[in-house]
């Protein structure tokens, strides 16, 4: 057996080879990439591998420990699922972008220092943008550009932070940083932007629902989870994260209730779930960190599952708004079941994956006597069931009959959803397997009678609230509209900036053109054209008058000299005379 290679290499080489493989081998080749990658991954031992000298620094491409390995496993699994789901896509661009994107995520989590980490971090942005633009709609193009600009800002902050930090400490090692000094604050902010912190989150809810059907599956898995990994690596136990995480769990659910685009509802619930992870990292105890990364693992699976089920609907009907859908359980029963498994998992029903990880964070908050945080998280747990657990399946598959009878999703999509659904149920039912992979030893027992009953009560009674609100007509109807969010500031603000710049700069430009191009330059040109002959004539005419030339003769002489000058056909003698006259004049004047 050959020596293992950095996991990123397999995906990058695979991506490069995609255009050369045609026909039916293509599907097999695409699927083989994450499989080979996974075999390669499990043959890598824990420790530090692939250290390369670069300038005065040592780049580490393989810092392999329990934290990075766990993310490595799930990134391979989800890459396989996402590739399987997108096998119908003929366009090479999307496959390549997806593979490079997954590869960059792997590169980032196994990077042992900040330089190569930063490079992979930026590659995440660049490759993911093509998954958005590949949709080829105006909305996707615009959202893609906004996504790029926001991430470029975050990337520059991160870079500035890294430069300051390296300058301060002299070390490029990527380990625990903590908040001390401007450099680390900038790094913290850079991570936070990719993590979709409140107010910085709008790139996610703006761009993900505009991406291609298959691209969104990749997108939902990598960018935010790499940021969660980075926070867990560099800022565990940072108190600010507790509050940031709690707010992240809380505010998106209000938006999710009134949002019409079902993939945007899922984007809001993605932020809500990442909030649990961020909060856990902020609490920073072994239980909390375990809970955070365990929840990241599960969230990647069930969020992808939910996005896949919505993608399947979009693929078959071309529609994704709650107002256009409904009643699809009739002809898409399997997709419906898979969607409900995803919904049950994200809502943390007993025997589904969310149950065994979310409660770890809740318990860690309770263990730290954080009352308000605990109440917010509990509120968010009830809320997420409300919008992702009930709203998504209800408005897509049940609700009023839209009259559409689309075919069931294609077989490869069903398989991809089936794998994700199986894993969600398996982890929920047998959490021991996943627990054994977590960074710290696990003593937590999720299945106690009070926990199971308490959680089921919470969920069932929020379902009751949904039912009663719906039957009484209070539940807000789905509407064709957009809901303003923090992106208003740069979308409208950007336009305002453009108008202000347009008005002022272009006005200055026009004035300058009138004065300099049309005015001064023109006059200068006109003057320069015949300034010499006019000047000469001034002297010559007085001379001719003195020598007695008058009338037509004088006019003719004037014309001749003037024309000769303009055409440059003066007899040599006159030219020399003029030059001499000019020199004398200069001498006299000076």
């Amino acid at each position: 057996m050959t020596d293992p290679v950095p996991p990123v290499i397999i995906f990058m080489v695979g991506a490069l080879l995609v255009p050369f493989i045609k026909g039916r081998w293509k599907s097999a080749f695409l699927l083989a990439i994450p499989v080979v990658g996974f075999i390669n991954l499990i043959s890598i031992g824990e420790g530090t591998h692939w250290v390369v000298g670069f300038l005065d620094y040592r780049l580490v491409f393989g810092r392999v420990d329990r934290l990075s390995l766990l993310f490595g496993y799930i990134f391979h699994i989800i890459a396989f699922i996402a590739i399987l789901y997108s096998l119908h896509v003929k366009e090479n661009l999307q496959h390549i972008a997806g593979l490079v994107y997954a590869g960059s995520a792997l590169g980032a989590i196994f990077a042992g220092e900040l330089l190569s980490f930063f490079v992979f971090w930026e590659m995440l942005t660049v490759s993911s943008i093509f998954l958005i633009w590949a949709r080829r709609t105006n909305a996707a193009l615009g959202a893609g550009f906004r996504y790029l600009l926001v991430h470029a800002t975050g990337g520059l902050c991160l870079l500035a932070g890294i430069v300051l930090h390296v300058n301060q400490t002299g070390s490029i090692e990527f380990g625990y940083l903590g908040l001390n000094g401007l450099g680390t604050y900038l790094i913290f902010f850079g991570f936070g932007l990719n993590c979709a912190w409140p107010i910085l989150h709008t790139w996610l809810t703006d761009a993900y629902p505009e991406a291609t059907i298959t691209g969104t599956i990749f997108l939902s898995a990598f960018t935010t989870k790499v940021a969660v990994y980075a926070l867990a690596r560099a800022f565990p136990g940072t108190e600010a994260l507790i509050w940031i995480g709690a707010i992240m769990t809380g505010f998106p659910i209000f938006y999710a209730v009134i949002e019409n685009d079902l993939r945007r509802v899922l984007a809001y619930s993605l932020i809500n779930q990442v909030g649990f992870m961020v909060c856990g990292i902020g609490i920073g105890t072994a239980l909390a960190i375990n809970g955070a990364v365990c929840h990241a693992f599960n969230d990647i699976l069930f969020k992808a599952l939910l996005f896949m089920s919505m993608g399947a609907i979009m693929y078959r009907t071309g529609k994704i708004n709650g107002t256009d859908l409904g009643g699809l359980y009739r002809t898409m029963p399997l997709t419906c079941v898979f969607c409900m498994v995803g919904a049950a998992s994200i809502s943390a029903f007993p025997f589904f994956s969310g149950f065994v990880s979310k409660s770890m964070v809740m318990d860690a908050a309770a263990g730290g006597h954080m009352r308000i945080i605990w109440f917010i998280l509990l509120f968010a747990s009830a809320g997420v069931f409300h919008h992702a657990g009930i709203k998504i399946p209800y408005f897509a598959f049940f609700s009023h009959d839209s009259g559409m009878r689309p075919k069931e999703a294609p077989i490869h999509m069903l398989l991809a959803m089936g794998i994700a659904a199986f894993l969600s149920v398996f982890i929920g039912s047998f959490p021991g397997a996943l627990y054994s992979l977590l960074p710290y030893p696990v003593e937590y027992v999720p299945y106690t009678a009070p926990h199971v009953v308490g959680q089921t009560q919470l969920l069932f009674f929020s379902a009751l609230a949904f039912t009663l609100l719906l039957l009484s007509g209070i539940y807000p109807a789905e509407m064709r509209c957009i809901n303003l969010d923090a992106d208003w500031f740069y979308r409208k603000g950007g336009r305002l900036f453009f108008h202000v710049m347009d008005r002022t700069l272009n006005k200055i430009n026009r004035v300058c053109e009138r004065v300099f191009v049309g005015g001064i330059t023109g006059s200068l040109a006109r003057i320069s054209k015949d300034v010499v002959p006019r000047f000469i004539l001034l002297g010559m005419v007085s001379f001719w008058i003195l020598t007695g030339s008058r009338g037509e003769v004088l006019q003719m002489k004037k014309m001749n000299v003037y024309n000769d000058f303009l055409k440059g056909t003066l007899p040599v003698g006159i030219g020399a005379g003029v030059a001499g006259f000019f020199i004398v004049l200069l001498f006299v004047l000076s």
Partner: protein
Amino acid sequence: MKEQNQQSSINNHQSKPYLFDKPKNVKILLRCFYCSLLVLLIIEFFLHKHPHFAWEGWPEFYAVYGFVACVVLVVVAKYILRPLVKRREDYYD
């Protein structure tokens, strides 16, 4: 192609009644749901709880919290957030 599909699917719709097309089935589902709620409320009294916080020990805490939280969520989203942020679909165009 798409139109054909839709056409055939509409015909399909008329000929075949599905699970929840019958109001009786919806009624059965709702009844099962209400029964399970009742069971959940009762079962709690047979459990030995070990709460982190005092209020976790109160009877039916989770049930009440789940219900109230969702009503608050929907009411706030509908009557406060939506009027504030709702705009026409072409707002940014």
